[in-house]
């Protein structure tokens, strides 16, 4: 186990540039007036 750094979430976001983009996710909204989803708050629905 590492002594100085504890990894909590292991992401692989950069890989998804190749296999992502299916468009199945629900529409997001970046604005203040809709909570329908902001991109960073979404989960992938693939």
């Amino acid at each position: 186990m590492a002594k100085h750094i504890q990894t909590i979430i292991k992401g692989n976001l950069s890989v998804t540039i190749k296999n992502g983009g299916c468009g199945k996710c629900q529409t997001s909204c970046q604005s203040a007036c809709k909570t329908s989803c902001t991109v960073g708050n979404q989960v992938c629905e693939k």
Partner: protein, 477 residues
């Protein structure tokens, strides 16, 4: 050896302190780490050094650490770099690829440009969007749904949000359109997910039962404490709306105890707006949580600076402090079995959206459109009534969205915004809200800087909570 050749650390790693944790967020992988003091200080030194020098000489940083400890830290960083979890390779900038013609998957249907409240901060001009007060006809609504289904390509599920003004002022049409939409979608093996955004004034028992039966997701507006809500959300005769809407909201939310915090499936959210007058908005969130509401969102007002309720630069520190307090309260309430979800503290990281989605953002103008009561097509609900951004009309034969405007919105991705290209939050905020950017700067590709500051603070707390939830222990990690 840690490879730092051409590596811009502050662009690709964000380190910060939150609660009693020192956190590192690796932008390109979306990984989160807890750092000890020595590692935190070494990375901080590297970032400082890089702000004045092009390349980093590792012999010139971390010299306050004993040699053996510095070596240990660097070895751990190197291992994490090999594992692509920290100091991971920067994603090459590339434009998202878009289908042609555009696939529209969601529509905001403005069934009522009229409202029974006159909220002071309303971007819709208390419901009229700067035009006449009018309700959408069934015929226009049917044309809109047909337009959506026709332009949704191979996508099996589309979304329709009934919006206003106040959509319950036109409930008869809403009901007809839900019935029509379900039938028309089924005929071509598609499904429409319906959402309704309401101020809850007319949300009586019968309407609640109807929305339940038809599985309509609902976003309900409430600003929090009575005095806060009533200051900004009065009726036309200035009477506050709190006493009318809270019983309606609670009756509704009690019906959906298992709603998804990620707004998936059949959900509800109670959402509010905070302004200059309640920079201590965490109290409003807690007020709602104490009422028993589990899904809560409160967002900063977006308004011209001349308005007395606008947030200004002096408010920012108080607002940030409120987010800090709220983060701790989320944990406290969860420990007391009074768990609630604050929408903007949800963060999709390991299970979040893919990079193409994060680069392109909300899809306004090409995946998402809004339709006004008279059948005008706009990039999103916030652009309704702005002629310069009008994409077309449902009443013109063979109507298609104007390609020049579609292209403008497609090109306004993260990489088109200078400030975003080096920002650590770029893959989580996706360049912010187009409408807020235009309102602030007049351009789609210039960001609303105050909004950026708040977004970054929300993300910091969200990642902190993600870690705390993963650890599922007290504050000593």
């Amino acid at each position: 050896m840690l490879n730092l050749k051409n590596y811009h650390i502050s662009k690709n790693i964000h380190i910060y302190e939150q609660g009693n944790l020192r956190i590192a967020y690796d932008v390109n992988s979306g990984s989160l780490h807890i750092l000890d003091e020595k590692t935190f200080s070494l990375i901080g030194e590297m970032i400082d050094y890089q702000s004045n020098n092009e390349t980093i000489d590792l012999n010139l940083v971390g010299n306050n650490l004993p040699d053996d400890e510095k070596l240990e830290v660097l070895e751990e960083l190197e291992q994490l770099q090999r594992d692509k979890l920290l100091f991971s390779e920067e994603v090459l900038e590339q434009e998202p690829i878009y289908p042609s013609p555009p696939i529209i998957k969601a529509m905001c249907l403005h069934v009522a440009h009229d409202c029974n409240l006159k909220c002071r901060y309303c971007f819709a001009g208390t419901g009229s969007f700067g035009g006449c007060r009018e309700l959408m006809s069934v015929e226009t609504g049917i044309k809109a749904i047909d337009f959506l289904l026709m332009h949704s390509g191979s996508r099996p599920q589309c979304e329709v949000d009934f919006f206003g003004g106040e959509p319950l002022l036109n409930l008869t049409v809403v009901k007809e359109l839900i019935a029509y939409g379900k039938m028309a979608a089924k005929k071509i093996n598609k499904r429409i997910k319906f959402t309704l955004t309401t101020n809850a004034v007319l949300l009586d028992e019968q309407t609640t039962a109807y929305l339940e039966k038809e599985e309509v997701s609902v976003v309900l507006s409430l600003d929090g404490r009575k005095e806060v809500n009533d200051r900004m959300r009065p009726f036309y005769k200035d009477k506050g709306s709190y006493d009318t809407i809270v019983p309606n909201i609670l009756r509704f939310t009690e019906k959906r105890p298992k709603t998804s915090p990620y707004a998936i499936g059949n959900y509800y959210y109670v959402r509010g707006t905070y302004t200059h007058y309640n920079t201590d908005f965490y109290r409003d969130v807690l007020h709602m949580a104490d009422l028993g509401i589990k899904m809560i969102s409160i967002e900063p007002v977006v308004a011209s600076p001349e308005n007395d309720f606008s947030l200004n630069q002096e408010d920012i520190e108080k607002v940030k402090e409120s987010y800090d307090i709220l983060g701790e309260k989320v944990l406290d309430y969860a420990q007391r079995d009074q768990e609630f979800s604050f929408f903007h503290f949800n963060a999709g990281l390991d299970d979040g959206p893919c990079l193409p989605k994060r680069l392109s953002g909300c899809g306004a103008g090409y995946e998402y459109i809004a339709v006004s009561p008279e059948g005008g097509i706009y990039p999103c609900h916030q652009f309704v009534g702005q002629e310069a951004y009008k994409l077309g009309s449902l009443h013109k034969p063979d109507s298609k969205p104007r390609t020049d405007i579609v292209d403008q919105f497609r090109k306004a991705n993260v990489y088109a915004k200078q400030e975003c290209r080096t920002c650590w939050a770029r893959f989580s905020c996706s360049g912010g809200c187009h409408a807020a950017n235009v309102a602030y700067s007049g351009e789609l590709t210039k960001v609303y800087s105050l909004g950026c500051e708040l977004q970054k603070k929300r993300l910091e707390v969200a990642y902190y909570l993600k870690i705390r939830q993963a650890l599922k222990v007290g504050t000593n990690c």
